[in-house]
Amino acid sequence: MTIENIKEEVKNYIKETIVQGDSVELLDETPLISGGIVDSISTLKMVDFLEVKFGIEFQPHEVDRENLDTIDLIAKFVLSKK
């Protein structure tokens, strides 16, 4: 699975379950947590999705802006865990 595939999957997930039709432009660098698009609960749901979808396991300290603030960061993090 390439980084682009992962980005696509994550983007679709965010669009369908978090943003849901709001007119938010989702770019690879759009700040998700610091920009207020994803709150702490949605973050946990997204973590759940990433774990199931990509077969990885998160540690509590990894649920962090450093790893999850943009689609780009998420994709890189997922790839590093695989």
């Binding site: 369908e16 039709g21 709150d39 702490s40 609960i41 946990l44 759940d48 509590p60 300290h61």
Partner: protein, 840 residues
């Protein structure tokens, strides 16, 4: 160069704000001006000479430490306390050594725990002396209590360890000196946020400081103009306003935090925002996300995520719910933990559980409903055009519910809270209209806010782009408005100026708190564990409030009508070699022979804390001075026989008229006085209510039949607070006082002793209304002579006469004034005592 010149304009703004902080005495009790001036000055020097501020910050810390704990300007003379400075410095250095170097994490954790136990040990060792070092644990505690936790947590996972300098700067945040209740700055966010002093940090810092200042002034307006004493609550709208205004006092914490964060940003560390317009929340979970985001992130990172990951197997929603619940419990505990380090109290009460438990449930339910709603609706419907009004409406509900919860949390007891709430039953059209008016007012403002949030990217882009300029202009207009009000009020009506404007531009207590302090309500720090109360003050310097200390250490309970008595042979030592002594007979006075010598004219004094001379050293209280002056400057004769004058002080801290009556009957009378000076003040109705409340609440033995019957007749219970008692007692409050004076009068009449009333006004705020009708009435009724010292403080400034901002007892200057006035009165009315005084 031009850029630098433009950036330097920010410092001009900081200079102006510094002036306002000085002028308006913002957080004066915490010496904010000192720390503000130091930080701004230091930042400016670094900016001017292109010094990398990060490297120079330890110097700022040392300057702060020196200015706060070594340097003291008193009566125009500079005093240095080097020992305190070096002790604190040594403790800081040792703490940093155990935390900073690259030791294994386990060692650091052990070191941190050992340090905390040691400091907590110092905390709990309370001697019989007010030590100038007593504040040390408070200072250390407020610096390290949370940052150590965040630091040790992050060390486990951090990929690249920060520099030693960053670590030092993290622990030694200078604004913490004047704001012991400090936001929990996240370690990782801090060390990655350094930018140095540049346009961005200067702009953000100035906006934070302006916002903080604005919020603190707004808090004052609410505190002085909107909050009123419980006794003045009568209808639904009163309850509504009372509850809402109490919640709004959270502005004090928000404002102080914004100034603190602004000062940190000014030192180059561009840390994130802290609050996000909490009064415009659209739900309870939204409120939790907007309120003190540093705290929320701390809880989530350290506790929430680890708990959630441990239990997530049980299902995402169940895990979320349980983790939320546990985290609120932890939040409750940590608030109490915080108070332990700042005030050495560990308050755990049912009302805390109700507040945090209810808030937790509301947040958890709100979150789950939102999530389930999200899960159901795919795709989400487009938001309706007027949803900003709906959001404002939700905000109003959140505000009202939170205000009610807040009123529980900050109340004295659940019983008292409920007795206030029951007054909401008194509903009338006027009250409904008032509530509606407030609600609509909020809806308009909140709708405008949500409208802006919704359209700022498209329709209102111009406002968004110029928000910074709008903020500066708004701030200047706000300050200008206050100054203008001052000028207009001063010219139009001086009384209005005194009552309305002065409380806003200076740090002082409102009517409710003044009454409470007057009654010794806060003596045992019952209700001061409240973040937002103006009474909440740091106890770094307990010397500021000697009365509290004297009450705790120089008196003991009697479990009867006296409530307390002086402990014989007590000597309390304060700083500056000041002493407060009780002799072997339990009098705050020198020792006298109980058997009166023939050559002596003996006057016994019945009074309370004013007459005890709290806050001035033995011999410097006005009564000792009058006694010395009468004997040294005058010759006293009765029928030609020379007499030595004795003024024996039977006053005890906190004694009201009823206690003075029994003090005279049980103790002073046996000393066979020739005259009795009964000191009278004002507000006796309020004072006696407080006395009865303490008497009943403490289940003391009421050995006076009149008082016992009255308490039974009025159905007074220990659950009644002062205001409820005042209502129950009604005019009988005055009757109790009259009864007490009648008792003293009857005894003195029987013994052929002269009873003289001495009216001594309180060193009080001009806001307090005073009336002396009661004093005049009892003097006439019991044929007492009156020595009136009513104009003793005439043309003086009140702040020059009180011990401190939190202790309104007369200071040395006030005692000197009273002594002179009383002496003049005694000489002028020497016939009252039947003595002829001639000057030596």
């Amino acid at each position: 160069m031009t850029k630098k010149l433009l950036d330097s304009l920010f410092y001009v703004l900081f200079l102006f704000i510094g002036y306002f902080i000085w002028k308006f005495q913002v957080e004066k009790s915490f010496n904010l001006l000192t720390i503000y001036t130091l930080t701004v000055g230091f930042s400016f020097i670094c900016f001017l000479f292109n010094i990398e501020i990060k490297k120079a910050l330890p110097i700022l810390f040392l300057s702060g430490l020196f200015m706060m704990y070594c340097f003291e300007l008193k009566d125009g003379v500079i005093h240095y306390h080097y020992r305190q400075f070096f002790i604190l410095l040594a403790i800081y250095a040792s703490l940093l050594c155990t935390l900073i170097p690259r030791y294994p994490l386990l060692y650091k954790k052990i070191a941190a725990v050992v340090w905390m136990i040691l400091i907590a040990g110092i905390y709990l060792l309370k001697g019989n002396e007010i030590s100038t070092y007593r504040y040390i644990p408070y200072v250390i505690g407020s610096f390290f209590m949370f940052r150590t936790v965040s630091y040790l947590h992050e060390l486990k996972f951090i990929k690249k360890e920060a520099s030693v300098l960053d670590n030092i700067n993290y622990f030694l945040l200078v604004p913490n000196f004047s704001l012991p209740l400090f936001p929990i700055v996240d370690y990782k966010s801090f060390i990655t946020s350094y930018e140095g002093v540049n346009t961005n940090t200067l702009k953000r810092a100035s906006l934070f400081v302006c916002r903080g200042f604005f919020q603190l002034i707004l808090y004052r307006i609410i505190y002085h103009d909107i909050i009123f004493p419980i006794s003045e609550i009568h209808t639904t709208s009163d309850v509504f306003i009372y509850v809402l205004s109490n919640f709004l006092t959270i502005l004090r914490v928000i404002g102080a935090f914004h100034i603190a964060i602004g000062l940190v940003v000014l030192t180059g560390y561009n840390i994130p925002d802290l609050f996000n317009n909490i009064f415009f929340s659209t739900g309870f979970s939204n409120l939790w996300r907007r309120t003190n985001m540093y705290w929320k992130n701390f809880i989530i990172k350290i506790f929430y995520y680890p708990i959630y990951f441990k239990i997530k197997r049980i299902g995402i929603y169940s895990a979320l719910f349980i983790a939320t619940f546990i985290c609120f419990f932890i939040t409750w505990f940590l608030h109490t933990y915080q108070w332990f380090w700042i005030k050495s109290s560990f308050p755990i009460e049912l009302k805390d559980a109700i507040f945090w438990g209810s808030f937790c449930l509301l947040v958890a339910i709100n979150t789950l409903l939102q999530q389930k709603d999200l899960d159901r609706s795919t795709p989400k419907k487009a938001s309706p055009p007027y949803d900003f009004i709906q959001q404002a409406f939700y905000g109003l509900i959140v505000l009202v519910v939170m205000s009610v919860l807040w009123s529980i949390w900050t109340s004295d007891s659940l019983y008292n809270w409920w007795s206030v709430m029951t007054l909401a039953q008194n509903i009338n059209l006027h009250a409904i209209a008032k509530c509606l008016y407030i609600g609509v007012f909020y809806l308009c403002i909140a709708s405008a806010y949500h409208f802006y949030q919704k359209h700022k990217e498209k329709k209102l882009l111009f406002i968004k782009k110029n928000m910074t300029v709008i903020s500066y202009v708004g701030f200047i207009a706000f300050i200008g408005g206050i100054f203008l009000s001052m000028v207009i009020a001063r010219h139009l009506n001086n009384m209005y100026f005194g009552l309305r404007i002065i409380p806003i531009v200076s740090e002082r207590l409102n009517k409710a708190d003044m009454m409470n302090i007057d009654n010794g309500y806060y003596t045992n720090l019952i209700s001061t564990n409240n973040y937002c109360s103006q009474v909440w003050t740091n106890d770094y310097d307990i010397n500021k409030n000697p009365t509290q200390y004297i009450n705790m250490h120089a008196t003991r309970p009697t479990y009867d009508i006296l409530l307390a008595e002086n402990i014989p042979n007590t000597v309390l030592k304060f700083k500056d070699n000041m002493t407060y002594s009780i002799n072997s007979d339990g009098q705050h006075d020198k020792t006298y022979a109980k058997v009166k010598p023939d050559s002596c004219y003996r006057i016994v004094l019945l009074g309370g804390s004013y007459e005890c001379g709290n806050g001035v050293s033995d011999g410097e209280d006005f009564l000792s001075k009058v006694e010395t002056a009468l004997n040294q400057q005058y010759v006293a004769r009765i029928n030609g026989e020379v007499k030595h004058i004795e003024l024996i002080n039977f006053s005890v801290n906190g004694y009201m008229l009823m206690q003075r009556f029994y003090q005279y009957q049980d103790k002073a009378r046996a000393w066979h006085p020739d005259a009795v000076f009964l000191f009278l003040h004002t507000d006796y109705r309020q004072r006696i209510t407080n006395y009865v409340s303490r008497l009943v609440y403490g289940e003391n033995k009421i050995n006076d039949p009149y008082l016992r019957d009255l308490i039974a007749k009025k159905q007074i219970t220990k659950h009644d607070d002062n205001d409820a008692l005042l209502k129950k007692l009604g005019d009988d409050a005055d009757s109790i006082n009259t009864y007490a004076i009648h008792g003293i009068s009857a005894m003195t009449h029987q013994d052929n002793t002269r009873l003289i009333a001495v009216f001594l006004p309180a060193v009080k705020d001009i806001v307090m209304a005073r009336d002396t009708n009661f004093n005049n009435y009892v003097c006439q009724r019991f044929d007492m002579k009156l020595l009136s010292l009513a104009d003793v403080f005439y043309s003086q400034k009140n702040k020059d006469l009180s011990l401190s901002d939190v202790d309104f007892h007369p200071n040395k200057k006030a005692n000197d004034l009273i002594a002179k006035k009383l002496l003049d009165n005694i000489i002028l009315h020497q016939d009252y005592l039947n003595i002829q005084f001639t000057k030596k």
